[in-house]
């Protein structure tokens, strides 16, 4: 639909039926003249406003989006706006990472009696959007294809040698199987020397195939929900264990149905980094690991590399190398480093260094490369919707099957939004991406905001309530925003 050329910008408002919609009526009844740009969508409650609606509007070309609800403590449904406040504040702080000016989105509170306030809100917000001008359009922004290349310094020494406690771990698993555990998820050697693959160990022989080392990259927590109702075990690295904790805290698996086997982790590799050092397309013949050195023979060449060169980014800043929860822990725990000042991985560091428009261009370039295989989703232990992912559904139909940058990015936004407050930072989404798109940056943007506002990190406490499923009547860390 056409916006009156030159006169109006496209501003979408989501107003709760009881307070703000009434406030807009009161303003109308008082003939309080306002700019004509705003289009109001009536919703029952500001708590009904899924932040994805706002993202949808902004992705599809809205120049500004306004959400308005009842004043805190005066919600018609008693607490809807409290949830809305958390979700919308988080959204506002998320927007810059995809190159959208957060000033284009605002949320506020207007009661049904506040006609004058509503007029001020509309007038001020419209003036703000006009000052910002039309939103940059995805088709106009130049795509860029440069990638973060930074190699972060590791917080602790990473290693790849034989783990001395592996026999102890195997014995613990064998004992557990003997006591009636149906099977235990672990890793075994894969199709070549640098690939590991998951194994569901049910016999002592299978347990003997268990390996532990830099190639055990998969987060096995991803398989746990599908074993629901069966008593099984899982072998975890520190990062994997956080996923288990989060699944437990959300009630998606039961504590009495899962046994957790842990061992100190010394880091895992980013396979793309190894492959990049090898002759293109060469088959891997052998691999030897000692200390922090990996020696790979491929295509007749023997190439030596260090963990410092090929380790996964997350391992470099890892502060939880040991399982945060376990029933059996083999060997001595790895020393845990202090949390770094700056926990950003290269993806987010790179995005932070770009201007808003450059960030848009970045995602445009990356999403052009995206093949929509959804491997990111498959690898994510917290993606529990499985067959019911909204990206595959027509009711609701959040994304179409259209192969456009916006649709593909919107899937990533859904994923990131669904993980807000739940993502444990295992970066499996990014690892699994065949195109090496740094999609974890979107989740980390949410994660750091949640850490900042709610001092909350997911996957650390089984009894914690994720911040988006609760609220405080007075939010001391959320600045009251006032448009009037």
């Amino acid at each position: 639909m056409s916006v009156l050329a030159g006169k109006e910008l496209r501003i979408v408002g989501f107003l709760c039926n009881w307070c703000s919609y009434g406030g807009a009526d009161t303003a109308g009844t008082a003939r309080a003249v306002q700019p004509t740009d705003l289009r109001i969508i009536r919703v029952p409650c500001s708590g009904r406003v899924n932040p994805l609606f706002v993202l949808k509007a902004l992705m599809n070309g809205a120049d500004g989006v306004l959400v308005s609800g009842c004043h805190p403590r005066d919600c018609h449904y008693s607490s809807g706006n409290f949830y809305a406040r958390r979700r919308l504040e988080l959204l506002k702080q998320f927007l810059p990472v995809i190159g959208i000016d957060p000033e284009r989105f605002e949320y506020t509170w207007v009661s049904a009696s506040e006609g004058q306030r509503w007029k001020d809100v509309v007038t001020n917000f419209t003036a703000r959007i006009h000052a910002l001008g039309p939103a940059p359009r995805w088709e106009d922004v130049p795509a860029r294809y440069d990638m973060p290349v930074e190699l972060l310094e590791s917080l602790r020494p990473l290693g790849c040698g034989e783990h001395p406690a592996l026999p102890e771990l195997k014995q613990a698993i064998k004992d557990a199987l003997a006591q009636g555990l149906e099977g235990v998820l672990g890793w075994k050697k894969g199709f070549d020397a640098i690939h590991a693959e998951p194994v569901f160990m049910t016999t002592p022989e299978e347990v003997d195939s268990l390996i532990w080392g830099p190639f055990n990259v998969q987060n096995l927590a991803v398989f746990l929900p599908q074993y629901k109702g069966r008593k099984i075990g899982v072998v975890v690295k520190g990062c994997d264990s956080k996923g288990v904790v989060e699944l437990l805290s959300e009630g998606l698996i039961s504590r009495d149905e899962v046994q957790i086997f842990g061992m100190g982790c010394n880091g895992t590799v980013n396979l793309s980094r190894i492959l990049a050092k090898l002759p293109e397309g060469a088959a891997i013949e052998s691999c030897a690991c000692r200390g922090n050195k990996i020696t790979v023979t491929a295509g007749g060449q023997t190439i030596e590399m260090t963990m410092a060169e090929v380790a996964q980014d997350k391992c470099r800043l890892c502060t939880k190398p040991n399982a945060v929860i376990s029933d059996a822990f083999a060997g001595t725990p790895t020393t845990e480093p202090e949390a770094p000042q700056d926990g950003r991985l290269p993806g987010l560091r790179f995005l932070d260094s770009l201007s808003l428009e450059e960030r848009m261009g970045f995602w445009k370039g990356q999403m052009e490369r995206c093949i929509a295989c959804h491997a990111c989703r498959g690898a994510c232990p917290m993606c529990v919707c499985r067959d019911h992912c909204v990206s595959d559904s027509r009711d609701p139909e959040w994304v179409t099957q259209e192969d456009t940058v916006q649709q593909k990015l919107f899937f990533q936004l859904i994923h990131a939004q669904h993980l807000a407050g739940r993502c444990t930072g295992c970066t499996e989404c990014e690892r699994a991406c065949p195109m090496d798109i740094p999609v974890f940056a979107l989740k980390q943007q949410f994660g750091r905001t949640i850490q900042k506002i709610f001092s909350y990190g997911a996957g650390l406490d089984v009894n914690a309530t994720p911040p988006l499923l609760t609220y405080q009547v007075e939010e001391t860390t959320i600045k009251e925003r006032d448009l009037a």
């Binding site: 109006e8 109308g28 029952p44 509007a57 009661s111 669904h418």
Partner: protein, 657 residues
């Protein structure tokens, strides 16, 4: 789907700034729209009939009306489409009056905007499904909050209709502000003679349960089924035993307690019954002053009480009541006029409020009806009344007229002349607002019969001075704008007609009741003209000044009106829910329980469906807020008529690039 669109002119309300014919033409280009036209008054009988005929003639499956706010006429048009055989929920509205024609002057922009809003409504309607209401039981009892004249009237009317009433009053007696008044305008009736019999009726009516000295702590539930927690504040007297004999008060040695009932112009004892006609007539100890409670010494009242009713270690008690409806009648308080330093800010003893003056004139008041000024007991000769103190004053954030001050000021001036025939009464006013029956005549009588001197102008300042005889005087400096002169009166006493605001704590109560309130603590009615005693929360009604300044007859009328609304609500054997509620798609639900966690009404329960955990909505409990829908990652729980797909369709209609 076949959709019909009706674009209303609303006379010239919409047509003046929106080209409704053009909107109708554009609407015809929208998907599924097979019929569109502009009509003069869609809500009028011919307008509605027109819709009915169009549905029949064109076989419409759904209707969009573009007119006023759905908060106004959505129920009207739902009935209209139902008359034509459609499901009442196959209807949507586009608000092109309050949100378009009344707020924008640019006809082109308005027309475009109106057409877009119609588009939103069409897109929403295309995804609507017929809905059917469910019935649920209703608790036929009503909670009345506040025992002033409005609350009393509401309680008595409801009780007379056989409805159980729970009345909660913050003070230790009912009666409210009216009980403090000496006389009432325009008849100069004795206030307590009119009110006291009604108060007695409240006490004696078997259908009424009265909790005095109590406050509403919390309310949960919804229309028909509220659960109320009431805090019975400790009185330190067992009211079942107290006979109201007054011996305790007589013997209490603590005599310096500010007497709140007498607006603090006098003192009372630490154990007290506010006034002779109090209901309930029971004593209450003020723990801030009681020596026994504060210091552990004394205990005189316990010694003299003939029934042994004194309980020094009494604690607050929480009681729970179940009701189906609530009437808020919490009245008002005077605004804090001490911000007005030019009137002394409360430091001049002989500058008092009209309510204090009322107590002074009352025969049951502290001076037994004799007018003596507080500072030295002198009988005043010159009394100045200042109107609009804290009313119509934007500089202190009080833009509104308090409504009844003009009338009671006239009454008090007349009463002054009655009490002190030789005294002079001056009234400084800006405008006299006397629109009620016999009201203007009354203010005229004050001037014509009683010789009250009215002066048109505000008072700039009150300046105390010491007269040659050593007595304090108050130079009241104002203007006579009719004369165009500055004028002064050397007054003995000044009475301020202080403006009103919502009762202290009204905002907090509004939050408990989930109703809107304004900046001044007044509760917001559902529609300013047509639904004056209803609120936007079903089952919660308003009576009296809590909704806005009004005098006694209007408060009484509203009390009866609120009671009538409750009777109508309770007249049905069962209530019907609004079926625009959430529904779980069992196939999509993974049983994660996030919806259960956030639901404000505990309306979602966990059920076992063939061994799998699933969410299930209790239909009569769900209020349709949609918080669950926004929470569920899979989109497995959808609130009807505000589904993800409907809102997405609206967003997509607006933003397509």
């Amino acid at each position: 789907m076949k959709i019909g669109v009706f674009v209303c002119h609303c006379g010239s309300n919409i047509e003046a700034t929106v080209d409704t014919a053009a909107v109708a033409r554009i609407a015809l280009t929208y998907p599924d729209v097979v019929f569109a036209e502009d009509t003069m008054y869609t809500c009028s009988e011919p307008g509605q009939e027109n819709i009915v005929q169009a549905i029949k003639k064109h076989g419409l499956d759904g209707v969009v009306v573009a007119s006023c706010s759905p908060r106004m006429h959505e129920p009207t048009f739902r009935r209209t489409v139902e008359r034509a055989g459609l499901n009442r929920y196959m209807f949507e509205m586009a608000n092109i009056r309050e949100h378009v024609s009344w707020i924008g002057r640019d006809r082109e922009a308005n027309t475009n905007k109106a057409a877009e809003l119609v588009r939103l409504a069409v897109e929403k309607l295309r995804r609507d499904a017929p809905l059917y209401a469910k019935q649920f039981d209703v608790t036929k009892r009503v909670l009345v909050i506040g025992g002033g004249v409005a609350g009393i009237q509401a309680a008595l009317d409801a009780a007379d209709a056989g409805i159980g009433v729970v009345m909660v009053e913050r003070e230790s007696t009912i009666g409210g502000k009216m009980a403090k008044l000496d006389k009432t305008f325009p008849t100069i009736d004795c206030s307590s003679c009119v009110l006291a019999p009604k108060m007695v009726d409240v006490a004696q009516n078997p259908n009424i349960t009265l909790y005095a000295h109590s406050e509403v702590e919390s309310i949960s539930g919804f229309v028909g089924n509220f659960t109320v927690k009431i805090r019975r504040r400790a009185t330190y007297v067992d009211w079942d035993k107290c006979t109201g004999c007054g011996t305790c008060t007589e013997k209490c040695p603590t005599k310096n307690v500010p007497d709140a009932f007498n607006e603090n112009i006098s003192t009372c004892r630490a154990i007290n019954i506010p006034f002779p006609q109090a209901i309930p007539k029971k004593a209450t100890i003020n723990p801030d002053y009681c020596r026994k409670i504060k210091e552990g010494k004394c205990g005189v009242c316990a010694k003299v009480c003939p029934t042994g009713a004194i309980v020094y270690d009494m604690a607050d008690e929480i009681v729970e009541e179940k009701v189906g409806a609530v009437i808020a009648a919490t009245g008002y308080d005077l605004m804090d006029w001490t911000v007005l330093k030019e009137y002394g800010g409360g430091t001049y003893p002989d500058v008092i409020t009209s309510l204090q003056y009322e107590r002074m004139m009352s025969a049951s008041g502290p001076t037994a009806g004799h007018i003596h000024r507080p500072s030295d007991g002198m009988e005043p000769r010159n009394i100045v009344f200042i109107q609009c103190v804290g009313s119509r004053d934007c500089s202190i954030g009080r833009p509104y007229c308090s409504g009844f001050c003009c009338m009671y000021t006239a009454k008090q001036a007349i009463m002054t002349k009655d009490h002190l025939p030789d005294a002079e009464a001056y009234v400084f006013y800006m405008d006299i607002r006397a629109p009620g029956k016999m009201y203007d005549e009354f203010t005229r009588r004050a001037q014509e019969e009683y010789g009250v001197q009215y002066v048109r102008g505000r008072v700039s300042a009150i300046q105390p001075t010491v007269r040659p005889d050593g007595k304090v005087g108050y130079i009241v400096r104002g203007a006579d704008t009719l004369l165009g002169k500055q004028v002064e009166v050397d007054a003995d006493m000044v009475v301020l007609a202080v403006g009103v605001e919502g009762s202290h704590g009204a905002g907090h109560l509004a939050e408990i009741l989930r109703i809107s309130y304004d900046h001044f603590g007044f509760f917001m009615e559902s529609h300013v003209k047509l639904r004056p005693v209803e609120t936007n929360t079903a089952g919660v009604y308003l009576a009296g000044v809590c909704q806005g300044a009004k005098d006694i007859p209007a408060s009484v009328a509203q009390g009866s009106a609120a009671a009538a609304k409750v009777m109508a609500l309770f007249s049905k054997p069962k209530l019907e829910n609004d079926p625009q509620i959430s529904l779980v798609d069992i196939k999509r639900c993974v049983g994660c329980g996030k919806c259960i966690k956030v639901c404000p009404y505990q309306a979602i329960e966990e059920v076992d469906v063939r061994g799998a955990k699933k969410a299930h909505v209790i239909e009569t409990v769900c209020q349709g807020c949609g918080l669950c829908t926004a929470t569920c990652p899979q989109g497995a729980i959808q609130v009807a008529h505000f589904t993800d797909n409907q809102i997405l369709a609206e967003v997509n209609a607006l933003c397509q690039c």
